[in-house]
Symmetry: C2
Subunit: 296 residues, 2 copies
């Protein structure tokens, strides 16, 4: 690949505008400069190319043959770039890139996305799983969903769209209808590695404490832990929204109910004007969250 040797590009742009519009004055208007600037640019281009590009008297300048050919080439080239940029922008506008807690995506978001797609058939939603604090400077998302107490100031919008409640859950056959914390007596305690302090927080929030567990099991993700709870491996602590469907379906039981946490589910938007797709998603999300049942 050899080094490019192109004349000054601003001169090319000025010349292309002149060729397209026929007069320097008009071209200057389009470029938001004075006619003198265009005149100089074209002259410098002729010098740099080494060929005359214009000819004729001042008040009726025409292009030389070389000028015509260059202008045709430039128009095509600029058109091409312009079209590519428009394509990129519209492709981007038609896509919503969302950074989301993995479990929330699987247990809450994805099951409900159908109505969003119905409302916005042109929009594709791309969900990327992420637990780290949202950092729009490092990774470019159109929006992020996090469970947190406080969203660090980042210049953008942050909306708490859903309260969080958590509580212990286990397979119904293990609990066996016993009421209160005694329901969990003798059951192994399930933990998630990223949030090992979760049980302690719950005990602080409720003032309750579970019977001593005969065993503790750690899982890499909340999602795996919930699968384990459903499979009867012990008692897990989960946000309500992740298990609402399982409780409804009788796959999990929550004998002591759920308690609200200080943390909430936030929709976090990057700084600057939100793109239309993100705004649409925000509206849909708030509407959808508004109709979510709250635990007893």
């Amino acid at each position: 690949m050899t080094k490019r040797s192109l004349p000054p590009l601003t001169a090319l742009r000025a010349f292309e505008a002149f060729a397209r519009l026929g007069r320097m004055t008009t071209a200057a208007d389009e470029l938001c400069v004075t006619h003198g600037a265009v005149s100089r640019q074209i002259r410098s281009l002729e010098l740099s190319v080494g060929l005359p590009l214009t000819e004729g008297p001042r008040h009726r300048l025409k292009l030389t043959d070389a000028g015509e050919r260059l202008a045709a080439s430039l128009s095509g080239a600029f058109d091409r770039v312009e079209r590519t940029l428009a394509d990129l922008r519209s492709a981007d506008a038609a896509e919503l890139h969302l950074s989301c807690l993995g479990t929330f995506a699987m247990r809450w978001l994805i099951p409900r996305l159908g109505t969003f797609h119905d409302q916005h058939p042109g929009l594709r939603v791309r969900v990327t799983e992420s637990f780290a604090p949202a950092d729009f400077a490092r990774e470019r998302y159109d929006a992020a969903i996090r469970l947190t107490e406080h969203v660090p100031a980042h210049g953008g919008e942050a909306i708490a769209f859903l309260d969080n409640f958590h509580g212990p859950v286990a397979a119904p056959q293990l609990v066996n209808g016993r009421p209160g914390v005694k329901a969990f007596a003798g059951l192994p305690r399930l933990h998630t590695r990223p949030h090992l302090q979760a049980w302690a927080e719950w005990e602080r929030h409720t003032g309750l404490s579970l019977p001593e567990a005969p065993q503790n099991r750690e899982f890499e993700h909340l999602f795996y832990m919930l699968e384990a709870a459903v499979a009867g491996l012990g008692v897990g602590l989960s946000p309500f929204v992740y298990v609402a469907a399982d409780i409804e379906a009788g796959r999990l039981a929550a004998p002591v109910g759920f308690v609200r946490t200080p943390a909430q589910f936030y929709l976090i938007l990057p700084p600057g004007p939100a793109k239309p797709a993100a705004a649409a998603f925000r509206d849909w999300l708030l509407d959808e969250a508004g109709s979510v049942p709250v635990p007893s």
Copy 2:
């Protein structure tokens, strides 16, 4: 035709170089700037396009999908312009545009051009007829041929490549073998409108004067006057080189010979570096003129 909306072109160029070369440092070298400049340009382009174009850690930056597509489009566009410019330049280099005295072209230059074409098969010579003083600012020629005493200073080269001799000529049957100026007694005098003082100059140069003419005839061009002389319409005054072939062939007679004029034939080159075709023409012309016979 709608107004163009393109991002800053220098940013596009920087981005294209980066995309092509893979690293900002290398791109900066190609563009003869520092890496910082390229970094800033690419950042400003991302801002102006509204899309991220690069991603990944600093030391191993990659293009995003959007970046790849834009880069491909830009490469194509720049290639196209570059190729057009190269075509224009080579087409121009293969052509020699010569501004020449019409009669000189017809009577001297064109008959000899064959050997020039033999020596430079790739070069096309375009001859434009012109009598006005050479003015490269108004009209773009690669070279001009003029008959003059002094070439006005114009910043370029001017080479006297051929001395000029002039003298009266007429059809041989009119002259009828008589010697000296008496040969022309009773013949009409032929003039050219652009140079009505020619006869007076000749008389001054030679100290001779022709017998009173019964008639004067004016022609628009020297070329027409020579045709008239050959046709026997009278006695004309002509530079030697224009009639050498006619005298040789016996179509014209020059009973009093030719006298050198202060004016010479000049090859005049425009200011600035001569293009190769013009240099080749100059060399050929000097060589060709060196072997021209001088009148007695």
